[in-house]
């Protein structure tokens, strides 16, 4: 029976980007389906009844929800090449810790950078830069978060890079001057075909965020 893989996704989603990258790392053919989040498809609602969110990975008709869970699933099913998680249990626990950190902290923090203004925005910027610095510190001098090889944490974070232009524009600051090593890391990741093919253009994301910001902020 053929391996049928469908990804329900939304093009600017930093979470969907993780799953796209993982699938491409493994050379898995998949059907990408764009969801309109204001008008969710019956398939999305059927496949993710609990959260009704994207991305949803559908493998041979069965859904896997939550991007970090999808990436681990992809690593386990297509285990023949490009391992995403380390094989050592302690290294795996560390990788899971950092993606959990990104999930717990990054999303809310970055949202406040572009969705607010004034004092609230200043405070949010400060918090966000602290987070990036923590991540940069964890990266250290390594080429990738896992060491010499591109892996789980890199996949977990790189999607946010496409949103950096938006943060910088609306937050009025330069991420490169605050975290040069992190930018160096991002550019290194973008040299990978799986990443380059899975990430939208930064300008398009900034345009998208610009529209979204109007809903939250009266300039």
């Amino acid at each position: 029976m053929a391996n049928e893989v469908i990804l329900l996704d939304f093009w600017p989603s930093m979470f969907g980007m993780r799953t796209r990258i993982a699938l491409r790392e493994k050379g898995v053919e998949f059907e990408y389906r764009e969801e309109d989040l204001r008008n969710k498809s019956p398939l999305l609602l059927q496949m993710n009844p609990i959260h009704k969110k994207i991305p949803v990975l559908i493998h041979n008709g069965k859904p896997v929800c939550e991007s970090s869970i999808q990436v681990q699933y992809i690593d386990e099913v297509w285990s023949h090449k490009n391992p995403i998680l380390p094989s050592d249990p302690y290294q795996r626990a560390q990788a899971r810790f950092w993606v959990d950190f990104i999930d717990k902290k990054m999303y809310d923090a970055q949202r406040k950078v572009w969705a607010t203004k004034g004092e609230e925005q200043e405070a949010s910027k400060k918090e966000f830069i602290e987070l990036l610095k923590t991540l940069e510190s964890e990266l250290g001098d390594k080429p990738y978060f896992g060491g010499d090889d591109f892996g789980y944490v890199d996949i977990g974070l790189i999607g946010f890079y496409t949103w950096f232009g938006a943060y910088e524009k609306f937050g009025n600051f330069s991420i490169e001057s605050e975290c040069p090593k992190l930018i160096g890391w991002a550019k290194r990741c973008l040299q990978r075909e799986s990443v380059a093919k899975s990430l939208p253009e930064s300008e398009k994301v900034t345009e998208f965020v610009s529209e979204l910001r109007k809903k939250f902020v009266v300039e």
Binding site: V64, E66, Y73, P89, A93, F97, D100
Partner: protein, 219 residues
């Protein structure tokens, strides 16, 4: 050389209870160090600099943070007995999904129902009951969440069991009345020594909840 396992934990923590259950299931001997998370001791800060929270599992001097990550680590290191996660990648993804659901969705209302008042508390109760219903539906006819065998999701949810009494008392509802199937499942889990030994004295939990309620202004 003997394996050295230390658990930094706090007696009422539903998260620490999970890790205690998992260690007991695997027959791992460990040193328990009572650690009040409101007091940031040097050891806690050293072992969990990012979140400064318990539980922290320390294995051969190296820390593993976040209870669900600890569960996976314990399962992978002590892999010769009582597998906690299924071996099939799809079943594993489902188990991870439900662990994630419990922490993402169930956690907040589970404490707000006893830790807040007024409208916030009413909303928390409503949400909590919905999540209990979802969890009961997911269990279905199965003896345990994973099927025939007690495992990861059972541990993830039973960690909260000591606090059910506080949810019921301050939320003014009965889990047994509202969720009889789930109640049967709790009784099944309570037949396990690993579970019983990990749980806290219900009277002490109520006493502690009362202290926190005053602290949070819910009284």
């Amino acid at each position: 050389m003997a394996e050295e396992v230390i658990l930094l934990d706090y007696w009422p923590s539903m998260f620490g209870m999970r890790t205690k259950m998992a260690l007991a299931e695997k027959g791992v001997t460990y040193e328990y160090k009572e650690t009040d998370p409101w007091v940031k001791t040097p050891l806690l800060i050293e072992m969990n600099p990012i979140h400064k929270k318990i539980p922290v599992l320390i294995h051969k001097g190296k820390p593993i943070c976040e209870s669900l990550i600890q569960l996976e680590y314990i399962d992978e290191v002590w892999s010769d007995s009582y597998p906690m996660l299924p071996s099939d990648p799809y079943q594993k993804a489902q188990a991870r999904f439900w662990g994630d659901f419990i922490d993402k969705k169930f956690y907040d209302p589970s404490w707000k129902v006893w830790g807040t008042k007024g409208e916030e508390q009413v909303a928390a109760k409503k949400e909590l009951l919905e999540h209990f219903k979802t969890l009961e539906t997911e269990l279905g006819d199965k003896p345990y969440y994973g099927g025939e065998v007690f495992g990861y999701v059972d541990i993830a949810l039973m960690g909260y069991y000591s606090w059910f009494i506080a949810m019921e008392k301050f939320g003014d509802f009965s889990i047994e009345t509202e969720f009889p199937v789930l109640t049967q499942w709790t009784k099944r889990c309570l037949a396990r020594e690993s579970v019983v030994k990990a749980l806290a004295d219900p009277d002490k939990i109520i006493e502690y909840a009362n202290i926190l309620r005053k602290k949070f202004g819910a009284e």
